[in-house]
Symmetry: C2
Subunit: 343 residues, 2 copies
Amino acid sequence: MSDERRLAVLRAIVEDYVATREPVGSKVLVERHSLGVSPATIRNDMAVLEEEGYIAQPHTSAGRVPTDKGYRAFVDRIATVKPLSPAERRAISTLLDDATDLDDVLTRTVRALAHLTRQVAVVQYPSLSRATVRHVELVPLGGPRMLLVLITDSGRVEQRTVEVTSEVPDELVARMRAALGVAAAGRRLSDVVAVLPSLPETFAPADRDVVRAVLRALEDSLSAEREERVVLAGTANLARSGLDFPQSISPVLEAIEEQVVLLRLLGEMAEDTGAGTGGVAVRIGRELAHERLTETSVVTSGYASGGQVVAHLGVLGPTRMDYPTTMAAVRAVARYVSRMIGG
Amino acid sequence: MSDERRLAVLRAIVEDYVATREPVGSKVLVERHSLGVSPATIRNDMAVLEEEGYIAQPHTSAGRVPTDKGYRAFVDRIATVKPLSPAERRAISTLLDDATDLDDVLTRTVRALAHLTRQVAVVQYPSLSRATVRHVELVPLGGPRMLLVLITDSGRVEQRTVEVTSEVPDELVARMRAALGVAAAGRRLSDVVAVLPSLPETFAPADRDVVRAVLRALEDSLSAEREERVVLAGTANLARSGLDFPQSISPVLEAIEEQVVLLRLLGEMAEDTGAGTGGVAVRIGRELAHERLTETSVVTSGYASGGQVVAHLGVLGPTRMDYPTTMAAVRAVARYVSRMIGG
DNA sequence: GCTTGGCACTCACGACATCTGAGTGCCAGC
DNA sequence: GCTGGCACTCAGATGTCGTGAGTGCCAAGC
């Protein structure tokens, strides 16, 4: 019994199951794919594949269904990322080309991705910590309130209100703005944090409390928790493929809504980009190690600005998904975004 | 046959159906509510109610179910907004009190609303056109690109990149910034638009193209389409109440995802705030005039800043919803937000 | 003129029995 | 090591039937 044929059988099972959503039996397998052997032979192969955990039987008199392990083998050893069709490439350009600012780019990106893959798409905002500060602005909002605005070179704008106990004179605001500009502009955010503690010294003692409040707000803007934001699209696609979620889609929706979960995943998967998949990472079912997402797979890729990966984007769908196509779409969109934001 | 009793019967039907999700018959009706008459009498009332279109029978041998018209009568003539429980009030405070900036307030608000009502919550960003400009900032992004940032008194920050054909000297950027500041600061956005056309005149002819590009971007930021943003939460609740959507929840999810639909609704409903409902507007099923939302109801309310309604928020759920409780929650949250943003 | 008990009627739904066919595992022969 | 044959299993489809909730109507009663 040749190893290659067993892999071919596995591939055929995955492809047929993805296409038909029905357990596939030995007979249709030889009919639809030219495997050159009889159903009985295939059955032997299937028995082995099942014993090794690549496929499973929902019940005795049914065909086989790929397991997580089966999909994994498919993704790692069988499938090749297939290039997008020209029409799909055109769709990406049309959707993304006339974007205005960063918000707009990301919103359009996530929509394009959801549309291409017919699944749930996620795009993470460019990380703040790796960016450099383009500009810091401090605006008096009247009375004891000010607005701190932070603009990075990736075009991201962070805002934060600062409230102190007493009225702040405009003149002091102006001086603080100038000091912040000098201290921060052109620096990487992580470096800015290091400079901050020495700043209050340069102000009159009476003003230092106010200065410290502003710095706290700035530090807060830079801190890891606040920096992470994601945009979502295509949740309706989940419902469409509701049949793929035995219980209900509501745990999946819940998990998606807790953006923390998504962010953690995007972060984790940043590290397991497999070889030969063009920078695309895939996690399948239980590999996600999340109880609400056992029937779900995630496909992600990083996107770059200035040669540096600044954030990730991806797609979430049922384990029974068309991996080659999805991976191709994720890769293509990631590259396109990178180009747009100057990757 | 007294009119009051018929209303009482309708109320009982609505309440029971909302509670049990099952068509309600004459027998259980007299058992559960002390109506003081026999089932046969109730049947007569029900026959009339059905003839008048307030209730319907799913099939011959089943109980009755309220129609859209029935719910409408319930909301208008029977139900009273019931105050929230102390625990619920506390939940609102706890969730909202330590919000930092406007983004944060709105995100927390939408979560609170979704949590309280166990439905899909929507919060609209404060309208730009009614706001006044606090500050305009123009930041050089290097080369021919600039970033235009607009800060309103409601704390909203709008950003927009401007790209021109040639490099823009920092000095010109500074002059434009100053001119914009003078022209816009303190004005209502709608008034700012009127002032813009005269601005290029004050610049040297060679610079006017650049100035015009910036003004176009500014106008764009102020334009009606861009000004509208919404935040969503609780989509998972839809799946939970999936049984209430006979076909599937996916058309509903689709409609929600097209934020245009939501914005149109919020806008329309701004005008039909009924009397006696405490500023809360309700649309039921087909009243929404949206084919994907025939099984859906929406409950909204405006929220205010400076005594002016600046935007709306609300909740979307199955027509079979607990209107009194939902309306109470929407009203309470709207008031709370108004207080927080200085309503 | 309402209200009420009685009664015949309807019909969705669940329980149960039956059937069918896809798919399997195994084995003997090639 | 492949193949055809064969007995076996079992989920799902189909059909039948009984049950009971709920109704509408009517004639009697307050």
